[in-house]
């Protein structure tokens, strides 16, 4: 990608929004309220005004708990969902409004790896068929021998034994299947990989194998990753930059090292403190009040206010904007902006 200006991020997400309508039919939207029939449709606000960037060679991690919208972001970027508002730019080109045909060349550049390798491989295709399919699709002029060579080369590079080619997915373990799924993504020489919880379904010793494989692919192929996960220890290891999501909004974006050494947003701090530590005897677990509210009727103001120990009247009425911090991170929190956090902690 020498033709792209290196100053510009490879991926730019601007004010992205995604709502899923719950009441779809006309009749479903009719509600009976105070003696009257009114039309009202509810929607899930999965992603609210998110802006992110990923530079070439970066591994941008998106973390958060279930329901925070991280998988929706991945699917929007991959073009599997259409945004309700906002823009996605890839390599300087706007991609969120492209037609199917217009998206074709990008599908080769942007590949996705899913969480569940049991569901992402077609059970009725042999490994060879599964791996050859994307190559044939994107390189229709390639000869059978070329396709075969390409697939064999990729199989070797990710530790998939070419002698497995005739077997079916059910004959493999979860870790092996995830390798095959990664191989499938790499056969078309992508530049950008969207990985949605790629190791969550795997055992610890297998997680390390797959994570190493992804790191190797990053170095040898110069890949850029959008890595979606809930596991903070993986983020610390794999990510170059991290975005923390809560209820569809970005709380904090920072370089990995900055985020782990000086987390700023109260939610980031609580999330980091909740990870079970191997060697510390007594964790300084910051206990959050309550649980994540539903994204159907979002509270006005800061989405985190209902569980935040620092919430005040401003947090209840005004949604905080992401503000640049001296160390380069972006934090969306009134308490951080007003410097209330550490004042309380110190007092």
């Amino acid at each position: 990608m020498s033709d792209v200006n290196t100053d510009r991020p490879l991926l730019e997400i601007k004010n992205l929004e995604k709502r899923f309508d719950l009441d779809q039919g006309f009749l479903e939207t009719l509600k009976f309220k105070q003696g009257k029939i009114v039309r009202e449709s509810r929607s899930v606000h999965a992603v609210n005004n998110i802006s992110l960037e990923a530079r070439k060679g970066e591994a941008l991690c998106v973390v958060g708990e279930s329901g925070c919208g991280k998988s929706t972001v991945a699917r929007l970027v991959a073009g599997l969902l259409t945004p309700s508002a906002g823009e996605i730019h890839y390599g300087g080109q706007r991609i969120d409004n492209l037609s199917r045909a217009g998206m074709q060349p990008l599908r080769k550049k942007i590949q996705m790896i899913f969480q569940n390798p049991y569901a992402s491989l077609n059970p009725r295709m042999t490994i060879r068929q599964a791996l050859e399919e994307p190559v044939r699709h994107h390189y229709p002029n390639a000869s059978a021998a070329e396709v075969r060579d390409k697939v064999t080369e990729v199989m070797l590079s990710v530790g998939v034994d070419p002698s497995w080619a005739k077997r079916y997915p059910h004959e493999f373990s979860g870790g092996q299947r995830q390798r095959i799924a990664i191989a499938r993504a790499l056969t078309v020489d992508p530049e950008f990989i969207i990985a949605d919880e790629p190791i969550s379904a795997l055992d610890v010793s297998i997680q390390a194998q797959v994570l190493n494989l992804m790191l190797e692919a990053k170095e040898s192929r110069g890949l850029t990753y959008l890595f979606i996960t809930h596991d903070l220890s993986v983020v610390e290891h794999f990510g170059t930059r991290v975005a923390v999501l809560y209820l569809g909004s970005v709380c904090e974006v920072a370089d990995t090292r900055t985020l782990f050494s000086s987390p700023k947003h109260p939610y980031t701090r609580a999330l980091l403190s909740a990870v079970p530590q191997l060697k510390d005897d007594r964790p300084n677990h910051i206990r959050l009040k309550g649980e994540i509210p539903t994204p159907i009727n979002l509270p006005t103001g800061c989405p985190f206010q209902s569980r935040c120990a620092f919430a005040d009247t401003r947090c209840k009425s005004e949604k905080p904007k992401a503000i640049h911090q001296p160390d380069g991170s972006m934090v969306a929190c009134h308490a951080v902006e007003e410097d209330r956090l550490d004042a309380v902690a110190a007092g």
Binding site: S173, Q176, P276, Q277, L278, P283, E291, I292
Partner: protein, 331 residues
């Protein structure tokens, strides 16, 4: 006398064309009020161990040999009637997915009251009062209202709290928790763990915590068993096992965690996969994945021996300890 004493427990599964051994000679003890962790990867046999303790295995699985002495009485030999009295009453189990454990068509109240009235001679109102007290113990807000709700109306964390309340309903001596927090988010997991720890300590309830997460084991338990391919390969105090593991598999498992490596560097992976039950290698089951394996490892199954502060099943544990990499890793 220990609360639970398992001796040489062997569990087999009779398949159509062969019989496989899922647990092979498991022995361990649990003192009253003690918290024990069982760790291992999928296929290690940790969940089967949990099921066997309550004699809950169903065909094709069966307990082949061994004893499970609970308060001196052998669970394996118990009549169905005795077992009904044991389960839920003196021994309770918590599973991974609360949505599967709770009956979706009964209210929380019905499920709790039914359990209480099945085991105790109580009126409906008395049972209801006990249910409310137990819900309060697990910090469920407005428990009277919760009793009228159905499981789908509650969040995942709330459901798991209710499962814990149900497990505690009859004041059991032992709780077996099989991956109780795996389906939950980290902040909720931390809450549930704190709650379980608090309840076990204040009521002197024994806990067997089955998990793949070494961090959870480290924070919740006093002793740990590490399982691999149906055998216990290392056992000892949790602190010792986390800080100074002796078995190469335990070492590998801990070293494979991202926290153990400088960010961006390659993780220290264990090569290969856990063997399937039908194809457990000869000798030490871990030998094809072990860099210290010798001919002895490939031919003879290692006995559990006491080494240093822990019990470990490894032929090469002494050589391993003088290994330079290992010295370095520890330093």
């Amino acid at each position: 006398m220990s609360l639970l004493s398992v001796r040489d427990l062997t569990v087999k599964f009779a398949m159509r064309d062969q019989t496989v051994t899922a647990l092979n000679g498991i022995s361990f003890d649990l003192a009253k009020g003690e918290r024990l962790g069982i760790v291992g990867e999928s296929g290690a046999g940790k969940s089967i161990t949990g099921f066997s303790l309550m004699n809950l295995l169903s065909r094709p699985g069966y307990i082949d040999t061994g004893k499970i002495l609970f308060e001196g009485e052998d669970v394996v030999q118990m009549s169905d009637k005795r077992l009904r009295n044991l389960r839920g009453n003196r021994m309770a189990m918590i599973f991974q997915d609360p949505m599967v454990t709770l009956n979706p068509v009964l209210t929380i109240g019905q499920q709790m009251i039914e359990t209480l009235m099945a085991h105790r001679k109580l009126s409906h109102e008395e049972a209801r009062q006990i249910a409310i007290v137990k819900l309060r113990e697990v910090y469920i807000p407005s428990p009277e209202e919760r009793l009228e709700q159905y499981p789908h109306e509650l969040s995942g964390g709330m459901r798991q709290r209710i499962i814990i309340a149900i497990a505690l309903l009859l004041d059991p001596q032992l709780i077996i928790a099989d991956e109780p927090t795996t389906a939950l988010d980290v902040t909720i997991q931390a809450d549930i763990m704190e709650l379980m720890l608090e309840l076990c300590q204040s009521n002197q309830v024994g806990l067997i915590l089955i998990t793949h997460d070494l961090g959870v084991v480290s924070q919740m338990t006093e002793r740990t068993l590490v399982m691999y391919a149906g055998r216990i390969i290392e056992a000892g105090r949790t602190r010792e096992i986390i800080n100074d593991p002796q078995h190469p598999y335990t070492q590998g498992l801990i070293n494979a965690l991202p926290q153990q490596t400088v960010p961006g560097q390659r993780l220290k992976q264990i090569p290969g996969n856990m063997p399937g039950l039908a194809s457990i290698p000869e000798g030490c089951a871990f030998n094809p994945r072990c860099k210290y394996a010798t001919d002895l490892c490939r031919s003879r199954i290692p006995e559990i021996v006491h080494y240093g502060e822990v019990d470990v099943a490894c032929h090469e544990v002494q050589r391993l300890n003088s290994d330079e990499d290992r010295q370095e890793a520890r330093a």
